[in-house]
Amino acid sequence: MGAAGARRARRAGGEPPAAPPGPLLRISGLTKGFPVDGERIQVLSGCSLEIDRGEVVAIVGQSGSGKSTLLNMVGLLDTADGGEHVFNGVDVTRLGEAGRARLRNTGIGFVFQSFHLLERRTALANVSVPLVLNGMPLIRRRALARELLESVGLGHRLGSRPHQLSGGEQQRVALARALSLNPPLILADEPTGALDAATSSAVLDQLISQARKRNAAVVIVTHDPLVAEAADRRITIREGKTFEEP
């Protein structure tokens, strides 16, 4: 997505620009290691992943297998040591810090296990953050944030702060925030890990249905077999590599 495209998108009210051809995300041969006590621990040693628009993909694997590490790179929060990574037609390995930030803002929505809402800030203000960073004027971003909170069933909690909300409600605020600029990709790292079973399935249903409504792809890292079941595809990480499950 070029700058002109992004500008057009903003003027059109957050609608994504015409999608470039090919899959939404293509990763191959991705490697990543971390220095630990002077040695380099190889966590990912050749991950490949291809995701189409609107697809819901679950990533499973044992704890410590590297699921979060992979997701952080898909989400442009961290850089890989090597490999190819094309997102929405952009070779992200060639982007600088500002370009990656811009792409995170408009192209990717995040839902974290621990919500990562800003404390002391209202639900409305939390949902507004990506809109502020996108340069949206006050009146429009207020209206849009309100609309988004209404769409996740929190129209009556606009002025609530995170500590006044239940875990499920907080995660719905985070979902509204992730959806706010209509990104083509939503990343969720164990989004229901901090929630009880009943709340989990409600939040998950909402995540998937909202994403499908907007034709956004979803990548969910999960332990929960039920979640994995709800996805279109399942990918396992084992010994630093990705495997497609049948």
């Binding site: 500002a98 995170r104 803002n105 990562h116 800003l118 203000a125 953050v129 960073l133």
Partner: protein, 411 residues
């Protein structure tokens, strides 16, 4: 870049509002420091206007010479013309008269103590005459057959003002009905005895009363007339050049006068005031600067502590699309917002204090002087507050940027 700047500012503002306790904590030091700075500027300004008003009322505006003529001056008019030619912009006679010779009388009371000056309308072009009532002399008063006077306030208070100070008389053995044109705020310089000052206007009707031996004749001490001469504000021509030029034309106005006796010196206190105030404000600025630095260290400290606490918050911003520059702006702008808010609080405090002081001592201050925070105080105060915030914000901001997004999100 612009978008990062704007969004950084928006988030910073929202952040300072949301974290009131953090904001207040960082404020305290700045409030005191900026308050001290504004107080110093205000005090300096009041001091300067006070000294200027005092000096201009007592001695003259910048630059004023006191000129004592040699005696005798045969042609007073020519002497005065030549003072203008020598570089004077305005010339006024300001001749103290022998108080034994001229007194005031109203009814049966005689006032022999006031200092009496024989002077011209143009004196008000040289000195600041702060009129309390009526007006200063005009050229038209020259036609008056009665002597025209302006009285100092403390003298006027001893008189009966009814009917425009009716039956006020001036003279000694021979009394003339005096016309009071106005009342002026007294000055320490003119009121030697403390019992008031009379300004008697030079006119054909009064010349003989003022100078029984004739104007321009030598007095008992062999001295001539005393003048106030205003020259250019930068003090040119200097006293020497002025004296030389004036003495050079003595053949016109006093061929028998000994020009060695011509005395010219700078009367206004402008240069001394500037110098004293300069030293004074240097010291006060030093104190304010130290206070402000202490305040800045406070903001810096709070900034550093909160950045450690805020790594998660800042990482969240970055995950949601803030680039490094926007993050930098967020942290720096929060410090600036905090400092400017503190500066505004300090400013309000100073306005309050100045208002209180004015209510208390306002009556004692000379005309044109009041205790108020001057515009430069506002600018210096808010400017230094913003500068301190900027300085105090940069180090925490740089710290904040060193953490990786992933590490910040894991906290």
């Amino acid at each position: 870049m612009l978008r990062s700047l704007i969004s950084g500012l928006v988030l910073a503002f929202a952040g300072s509002r949301a974290n009131i306790s953090r904001t207040i904590l960082s404020c305290a030091g700045i409030v005191v420091g900026v308050g001290a700075l504004i107080a110093v500027v205000t005090a300096g300004h009041v001091g300067q206007t006070y000294a200027k008003a005092y000096g201009e009322a007592n001695t003259g505006v910048a630059a004023t010479y006191e000129v004592t003529s040699p005696a005798p001056v045969d042609d007073v008019e020519a002497f005065e013309e030549d003072m203008l030619r020598a570089g004077g912009e305005a010339v006024a006679l300001q001749q103290p008269l022998d108080s034994a010779g001229i007194q005031l009388r109203q009814g049966t009371s005689v006032f022999k103590d006031p200092t009496v000056f024989y002077t011209d309308p143009s004196l008000s072009d040289i000195r600041r005459m702060n009129l309390v009532e009526g007006r200063w002399f005009t050229e038209a008063d020259k036609g008056s057959l009665a002597p025209v006077v302006v009285l100092s306030e403390n003298l006027a208070e001893q008189l009966d003002p009814s009917g425009g100070y009716a039956d006020l008389q001036i003279g000694n053995s021979e009394w003339l009905r005096a016309r009071v044109a106005g009342v002026v705020e007294g000055t320490a310089m003119d009121d030697w005895g403390g019992s008031g000052t009379v300004y008697l206007m030079r006119s054909p009707a009064t010349e003989e009363m003022a100078f029984p031996a004739g104007i321009g004749a030598a007095d008992e001490m062999g001295m001539g007339l005393t003048y106030r001469v205003r020259v250019s504000p930068d003090g040119s021509p200097g006293e020497e050049a002025f004296t030389e030029r004036l003495a050079g034309t003595s053949w016109r106005w006093g061929p028998q006068a000994d020009t060695e006796m011509l005395i010219v010196f700078r009367a206004d206190s402008f240069e001394e005031i500037e110098e004293v105030l300069g030293y004074l404000s240097l010291g006060l600025f030093g104190i304010a600067g130290i206070t402000l630095t202490t305040g800045m260290l406070g903001v810096l400290n709070v900034g550093l502590v909160t950045v450690r606490e805020r790594r998660r918050e800042l990482a969240t911003y970055r995950a949601l699309g803030a680039d490094r520059f926007a993050m930098f702006v967020v942290v720096v702008a929060e410090a600036v917002v905090v400092s400017v808010v503190a500066g505004l609080i300090a400013l309000l405090g100073c306005y309050g204090i100045a208002g209180g002081v004015q209510a208390f001592v306002g009556d004692m201050l000379p005309a044109g002087v009041s205790v108020t925070v001057p515009l430069q105080g506002v600018l210096v105060g808010l400017g230094s507050a913003a500068a301190v915030g900027l300085l105090a914000g940069v180090i925490p901001a740089w710290r904040a940027l060193r953490t990786s997004v992933v590490a910040g999100l894991r906290e």
